[in-house]
Symmetry: C2
């Protein structure tokens, strides 16, 4: 179905992370009907999630509702299950523009939404590498709900350790905080957690301090492998001096209710286990990627320098779920945010971002911008963000 009875082309944005947020802040809603589809109705300032988990920053300070980011977009709380770029699913009701496609949504019920351009900015999900027990027993550091649940769990473990019926061994186990993964997220979280435990909680639970341990497990021989050696050494010495026990060349093969199982048979008692061992593609991305390039389906959407998905039409992608061909960019918030604004400027300038795969600029399409500018509402002017 079409959501509004206007003749403007529909730009469908999937996601509400760094890329999508930046895009909808900049895109001109006088030129396009922007529909944002995401199971999360707010943007999260992810770099501060570890601070939220330990209570330094209140979690509401990290959020911006999508409706506040740009009141002129239509937001739908839903998860995209299938993208049908060929529009084979049949035309929806209220067909008003020619170039239409179909998008099937689920949660809480199925619906189909027509679009003219779709922007995939769904990011990635935590990778468990098939290790059993991770989903059931570990915490991730991805959403605000994760951080809040983790904070609650930390408090619970300290209360448990306080009880007179708790044995020495149980106390030691309850206060062993294990972080799996020596990437930027894991390292930052381990440091933040250690500071919090030894500086803030010391005041409330002084008697428990000898039992507190933070253990960082890394599967290869060094942490922060994507950075240079000097940085790795500095990070390691900083972590160690703030009380984190860093164990390298340790592979986790399983997690159960109260033990982390390591390769070689070692078992590690733990109270809280945080899993930040990397990211994996979301099912939607795998599906689109395999359809777009039938020969070599990858885990990311290959895009050209105009962020058009190679092998698909009217489909754009940005952020962690995309890979710019010939210009490999790191999967960071900075890149996603800049790509979002860049794409919005391309769209605002009237570029017809149809079929991807070219290296030359896409055909330019003249749009009477001056007329449109006049019609822009006050609300939208206020929310415009020019980077």
């Amino acid at each position: 179905m079409r959501l509004r009875s206007s003749t403007k082309p529909v730009v469908l944005v999937l996601g509400s992370g760094w890329g999508a947020h930046s895009l909808i802040k900049v895109i001109d809603t006088d030129m396009y009907d922007v529909v944002v589809v995401s199971p999360r109705n707010h943007f999260v300032f992810t770099p501060m999630l570890p601070s939220t988990a330990v209570g330094t920053v209140e979690f509401r300070s990290l959020l911006e509702p999508i409706r506040t980011s740009n009141p002129c977009v239509t937001y739908l709380e839903a998860q995209c299950e299938t993208l049908d770029p060929e529009g084979e699913g049949g035309g929806g009701e209220g067909l008003l523009v020619q170039s239409t496609h179909l998008l099937q949504l689920s949660k809480p019920w199925q619906m189909q939404i027509q679009y003219d351009k779709a922007v995939v900015a769904v990011g990635e999900q935590p990778a468990t590498f098939g290790v059993p027990g991770v989903k059931e027993h570990c915490f991730f550091m991805k959403e605000v709900t994760d951080a809040v649940a983790l904070r609650k769990k930390i408090a619970e473990k300290f209360e448990l350790a306080c009880l007179p019926g708790t044995s020495e061994q149980q106390r030691r186990a309850a206060l062993n905080f294990v972080v799996v993964g020596g990437g930027p997220t894991g390292v930052e979280f381990a440091g933040t957690l250690s500071d919090f435990l030894r500086e803030d909680l010391r005041k409330k639970y002084p008697a428990l301090m000898p039992y507190v341990r933070v253990t960082l497990l890394q599967s290869v021989s060094s942490i922060l492998t994507q950075f240079d050696e000097r940085l790795q050494r500095n990070a390691l010495s900083n972590l160690t001096s703030s009380g984190v026990e860093v164990r390298t060349n340790v592979r986790v093969v399983g997690v159960n209710k109260d033990k982390v199982l390591l390769k070689g048979g070692e078992e590690l008692d733990y109270g809280v286990c945080v899993w930040s061992a990397g990211n994996a593609p979301r099912p939607l991305v795998t599906q689109i990627a395999s359809e777009a390039s039938r020969l070599s389906p990858g885990s990311k959407l290959c895009v050209d320098s105009f962020l058009r998905v190679v092998g698909a039409s009217d489909l754009l992608a940005l952020g962690d779920c995309s890979l710019v061909l010939g210009n490999r960019l790191p999967a960071t918030a900075q890149v996603a945010g800049q790509q979002g604004a860049y794409l919005a400027h391309l769209l605002n300038s009237g570029y017809n971002l149809g079929v991807g795969g070219y290296t030359q600029p896409p055909p330019f399409q003249v749009v009477p911008r001056c007329t449109l500018q006049v019609r822009r509402t006050k609300a939208q002017r206020m929310c415009l963000y020019v980077p």
Copy 2:
């Protein structure tokens, strides 16, 4: 077991609500070893819970950790299952004072704690009156977690109503907010909710406003029955003018996933149902009450004017779970808070609050207060609260 190797008498406080909080703020921890046992490690400023549920007040502003209220008390996150005032369960380890009793705790494991005086200040729990489906589908307004979950649910229902696949009828049902119970809590919540929906959410969801309804169901012919008629009329007209539909003489006989079932066969579609139809005694209170007065077990602990439980020894009770004989006080936060401070002053003055049931003052026991005052730590002086 005894928690500390001191010779001070142990005052065991069950609960962390208004009564307990006020007691531990005032009690002299140089005279007594104070042990607080409660499943909730913080005090909640309950009158502001409705405001938290609608986001006006941040929930962390409503809390005070028990350890912050008085750093000199020992707090245990546990729930008292059985109180054995006769100490028949056998002496625990480390018995240091003569008059000892046993308390059995569960969660996460059983333990026994000796005490010299026990103060029951556990309050009450929401009453469901055996109506099926209430526990599963309704929200209560008792803890911060209730308010947070409710806030999330309200947002969820609005997002659901926004989806293009939602029918008119589903939208109307999702945005019908039903409050069961016309007491002070229900009335305040219904008013707060209605203001929030029609003033704050109007900005974000203007198109949904015609669908929003707040319905207050009351089983008798008027609301706020404990107040006089003029107040009842005023409250009713205020509620009505703020958009709440008040239905009196309506009895709820069941709640299922999406319908409130009324006596007479009527069914009410709802999105969120808040149950505030009154309170019932906690199992521990029923158990103690039946043991203390074997002839007429009541739902509250009968206490004399010194808050000693009639029929028991070394057992005190205050707040909603108690009933002062000959001086019926309302079950409000104000009464509980004042009783807590009053009891602390009695204990600080050295009254030996042994066996209850007398109307004359309990025997006075001289305690060298001046000496004790000197030993009081700086931390405790700071947290003292004299009403």
